[in-house]
């Protein structure tokens, strides 16, 4: 008998009481979603900015390698998406369109349709996600409701920059992935 059969057989042989799955209430938040979202991103060590502030920031930075996949900022791209994601290693800035954000924790949903290379939001030195204020939901419950039966090979909630506190619990932003996250709220 295969291990698969052994394991399943062992489980089937155990007397267990029947249990029911609970229905999940539709927990919501109190307060203004935009405010809550901004505070959540800040708590996760990200930043939220408007279009103008973002433009000022980009022009002050003098990045020489930018990939922008967000329509309003397409002109900022300095090079084409490479076929091999390893070539993204020295990418300084990726600008991605976010699907929607979650006000309770700042998480932003991306999937394969925003990520031609799944590694893009991780490997880039700085990450910018463009998000419409209209596209905010209260909590993760509404978030999964919204994702629904969407079928994507990969989906990602990104809520901040790469960070760690593994050395004496001191927070350091910029572990292996993006060293910063900026959300441009349109």
């Amino acid at each position: 008998m295969s291990s698969r059969e052994n394991i399943l057989k062992a489980i089937r042989g155990i007397q267990r009481e029947r249990k029911e799955l609970p229905t999940l209430p539709d927990f919501k938040l109190e307060g203004d979603l935009v405010d809550l979202f901004i505070r959540a991103i800040q708590a996760n060590k990200g930043e939220v900015m408007g279009e103008e502030e973002f433009n000022n920031w980009v022009s002050s930075c003098d990045f020489h390698s930018i990939i922008s996949l967000s329509e309003p900022f397409q002109s900022l791209s300095t090079f084409e998406l490479p076929e091999d994601p390893h070539h993204l290693n020295h990418l300084q800035l990726a600008i991605i369109q976010g699907q929607f954000g979650v006000a309770e924790n700042g998480a932003i949903w991306l999937n394969d349709s925003q990520l031609p290379h799944r590694v893009l939001p991780f490997i880039t030195e700085h990450l910018v996600i463009v998000l419409s204020k209209e596209n905010l939901v209260d909590t993760l419950h509404q978030a999964y409701e919204r994702i629904g039966e969407e079928h994507s090979g990969f989906g990602l909630f990104v809520a901040g920059p790469s960070k760690t506190a593994d050395i004496e619990q001191s927070l350091v932003v910029g572990a292996h992935g993006a060293k910063s996250l900026r959300v441009v709220l349109m």
């Binding site: 267990r16 999940l24 004496e168 619990q169 992935g177």
Partner: protein, 452 residues
């Protein structure tokens, strides 16, 4: 080494044990603060517990659904009855891909299976990519905490270690500087690995997808740059529906570190074009634990580590004092199921204070299971010998009658004898504590005189 021995050694460096206690207490305070911003917190715990109840009552069906859906999505599913088979499966994939170096993100399961030494013995270089795990890997130590693997180390230790391993400046203890050195070192590893291994936080039966949560982004850096992703998953990690993730992801990071969510929460449903995902489903004692009714719901654990941070014992004895892959309260109810003899002192490394049960996001009755393990372990007392101290079985607590008789004898003894001569348990008691002053008469004697 027994827990009491290891604990007293850890306590000898008082400054260090105090730091350990206070640092983990701070993490618990962060968890308390954030959990109190969620009005429905206790309801979420109930829901999570109920969902896991359902999973455990229907695990065979969910596993089959999960497998079928994952296969439909192009994921290759493997089954391992134990650690040895798990390790062989992983090595088999590596051999097939002709791969001699891999990156691996945090997976308690692979620690449990001792995958690293097995692969290394077979000529594979394994690089743990979580910063804390890389640190302990350099030191050839296991993690001392499931969420904060290097919490037992101080920055001066890490500075010295990185100076040796990564040629950082001698004496530079700045966490940002050290983290950046690890970033540069690991970036090369990410770029050069054809195979990446991750653990799994949740497997969704309804979709066949699985979720991996990190703050560092190390799991994703590894798997998206590699050709092959191997995900190792305990069979209890299943949840029924995608929307159940809403409940668990709301609880997980808040319970673990007091943050609202981990910064990266990746949902893997099918491999990217031209790539492969292998999923290894591992039993390794889980179906046995499922069969033990009193201990069944220990399998609800989502590995947040909150019970370690709150445990007054763990904070003062350190993760290594447990000698088990998963330390702390949850480890002390899981480990005896794997090897009762080896871990026989762990369920006694507790005052049954119950803080672990109240902090647990899936409401495992941890302290009650510690009590139940004690009842099991003492049945095998003879076989286990000295590991479980004989003091427990003898001395003043032998029987109610003996206790009763010894009560009055004891009062007299305390009055008459110098402290050093009072017999053993009291001797231990008296090392650092005075005994209460013996009263003239017991309450019973007083009552007969005054109310009789």
């Amino acid at each position: 080494m027994s827990h009491p021995k290891a604990a007293s050694q850890f306590l000898k460096d008082h400054a260090n044990s105090l730091w350990h206690d206070e640092t983990l207490w701070m993490v618990r305070e962060k968890r308390d603060a954030i959990s109190k911003t969620i009005p429905e917190w206790e309801e979420l715990r109930n829901l999570a517990s109920q969902i896991k109840d359902k999973v455990l009552s229907n695990l065979d069906v969910y596993l089959e659904n999960f497998e079928a859906n994952a296969q439909k999505n192009g994921i290759k599913v493997h089954w391992a009855k134990d650690a040895a088979e798990h390790n062989q499966i992983v090595l088999g994939i590596l051999r097939e891909k002709n791969c001699q170096a891999i990156v691996k993100s945090k997976s308690i399961l692979t620690e449990e299976c001792h995958l690293n030494p097995y692969l290394e013995k077979n000529g594979v270089e394994v690089v743990d990519t979580d910063l804390g795990e890389r640190i302990v890997q350099f030191l050839q130590q296991p993690p001392s905490h499931i969420v904060m693997p290097a919490i037992h180390l101080k920055k001066r230790d890490i500075s010295a270690l990185f100076h040796e391993k990564l040629q950082t400046e001698k004496g530079n203890e700045d966490p940002s500087y050290l983290t950046n050195a690890a970033r540069l070192h690991l970036r090369k590893k990410f770029l050069g690995s054809k195979v990446a291994i991750t653990g799994v936080n949740f497997g969704v039966a309804e979709t066949g997808e699985f979720v991996v949560c990190t703050n560092e982004g190390n799991a994703d850096m590894g798997v998206h740059l590699a050709d092959v992703h191997i995900a190792c998953m305990g069979i209890e990690k299943i949840i029924p529906r995608r929307k159940d993730l809403g409940v668990f992801l709301r609880l997980l990071a808040r319970s673990a570190t007091g943050q609202p969510i981990t910064n990266y929460n990746s949902h893997f449903r099918s491999p990217a074009k031209g790539k492969e995902i292998h999923l290894v489903l591992v039993d390794n004692g889980r179906s046995l634990q499922l069969a033990r009714e009193k201990f069944r719901n220990s399998l609800k654990c989502i590995r947040c580590g909150a019970c370690m941070n709150t445990c007054p014992i763990y904070r003062r004895s350190g993760g290594y004092s447990y000698g088990s892959t998963v330390p702390g309260p949850i480890g002390s109810i899981l480990s005896p199921g794997l090897d009762m003899k080896k871990y026989s002192t762990l369920p006694f490394a507790s005052t049954l204070c119950g803080s672990c049960s109240d902090v647990c996001p899936v409401k495992i009755n941890i302290h009650e299971q510690l009590y139940e393990w004690r009842q099991e372990i003492t049945k095998h007392h003879g076989e286990f010998g000295k590991g479980l101290s004989m003091k427990l079985a003898s001395g003043i607590f032998k029987s109610p009658l003996a206790y009763k008789i010894s009560g009055s004898t004891m009062r007299k003894a305390i009055k008459l004898l110098p402290k050093g001569l009072i017999y053993n348990p009291l001797n231990v008691w008296g090392k650092n504590r005075d005994l209460p002053e013996a009263p003239k008469e017991s309450f019973q004697e007083w009552y007969k005189k005054n109310r009789g």
